[in-house]
Subunit: 150 residues, 4 copies
Amino acid sequence: MKVADLEFEQRTRDSFARQPAMATLGVGVESIAAGRVVLQMAHRADLTQQHGFLHAGMVAAALDSACGFAAFTLMPADAGVLTIEFKINLLAPARGPQLRFEGAVTKAGRTISVVEGKAYEFEAGSDERKLVATMTATVMTVRGRDDVRH
Amino acid sequence: MKVADLEFEQRTRDSFARQPAMATLGVGVESIAAGRVVLQMAHRADLTQQHGFLHAGMVAAALDSACGFAAFTLMPADAGVLTIEFKINLLAPARGPQLRFEGAVTKAGRTISVVEGKAYEFEAGSDERKLVATMTATVMTVRGRDDVRH
Amino acid sequence: MKVADLEFEQRTRDSFARQPAMATLGVGVESIAAGRVVLQMAHRADLTQQHGFLHAGMVAAALDSACGFAAFTLMPADAGVLTIEFKINLLAPARGPQLRFEGAVTKAGRTISVVEGKAYEFEAGSDERKLVATMTATVMTVRGRDDVRH
Amino acid sequence: MKVADLEFEQRTRDSFARQPAMATLGVGVESIAAGRVVLQMAHRADLTQQHGFLHAGMVAAALDSACGFAAFTLMPADAGVLTIEFKINLLAPARGPQLRFEGAVTKAGRTISVVEGKAYEFEAGSDERKLVATMTATVMTVRGRDDVRH
């Protein structure tokens, strides 16, 4: 592993650690690579909708973070990342018991990056997994205080 | 107010009360009308991203609920609602201190309904408000156990 | 009308006139205002899908142009506009005989603008119209040759 | 190849041939497989926007067809396909000279299917290709005259 890689990995972990919402939802980092971030969480009854499945918004929140940080790994060290928009398709109810959220950069641009997200449910110890949602997110590279005025 | 109206309003309040995720995020009902639901919440530090703004996923979760329940008000009494997909544009950082989430049905179909959502931030007691996000959600009317096999 | 208004209107008409695709589809300008552009076209059999309705892609193409030019009216005189992404909901089959495409800016940013589009069908001479599609488009202000490297 | 395969392939080719819009744009079928359809077209000056690139709406139209027909291959023989919504990200200007549009089914449901589309540009005879756009489309299986009343 190159020094540059260590830099982006640590930088991404640090930024993730500064997202209180992820801690509140119980979302953690599974892996970080250049242009690719995987997060995971366990199904939790207090985050469900009326049928006992994980609320679509919770799936969206975790996938949005996976996508944003995937783009962040490829950005300059002094840049921040801001989600401009995302679109999610809910393919199946998210039952868990475990969920994995993968963000992978489709295109890294100077200003605009596009990232694909996929959410899977699985059981610990099993090789099977089921695709429950897909996302496309458009994120922006921001500098200084640009983040609040895009 | 007609009896039929009372029916859908109570039915919608009951269904909302069965969404643990909304209670967890501190989201409450402001108003319910035929084809239109308004939710609200206060900014909370434990639901923020790395810059101290409400996490985009939290905004999306509340807007998705506002949109889903707006469609639900127009559905048959024995039906359930399921979000198929949504798309959100984040127009400005969500600082609060208060947030309002409006869902309004654009088209109510037999199977598929389309709903527009708008999220605003404002200060209690002020007439000013700022649009921070827009959503388009596609939801499905489900019967019986269809909800898990769309 | 102010001189500045005349400037953006003429500038927008000139740019529209340089879109061969719009001429090919028979799309014309109905009106141009600051942050709002309305286009129109007639249903044409050679632009239909297998059921005789206007192809969703043709509705999307005209709505995308309406949205892009709506944002363009608010941009600096030396800037160009580029669509980053759009999302369209097809609410009803587009039968015509006439179609109107409205683009209205939701948020005009320095770099990124968000525009809402609505497509209607109607009969000439009638006050009735039917909403057949809605769009949300994200467009970018580009300078010089930036347009090809966003 | 099984008889069943021949059936869906012929059925898809027949339906494609009944889309006048595709002939008008010069879009043809490259290949049809179960859950996957590839279309192609050549860049054409009369389908461009103001910078000489293929208009985003033309890319969207061809991708929408690729996605719709990909879902159609998996539907019952008496069903029709209707696009409910799609979202497209334009990653790079579409210069051509040749374009390929791939639709691949992510999830085939009874009522609702989700399809991913990718548009590439390339030169005839070259192995290189460049991704210029991605799409996610939600399509509906329709029976009888349902197609006009979803």
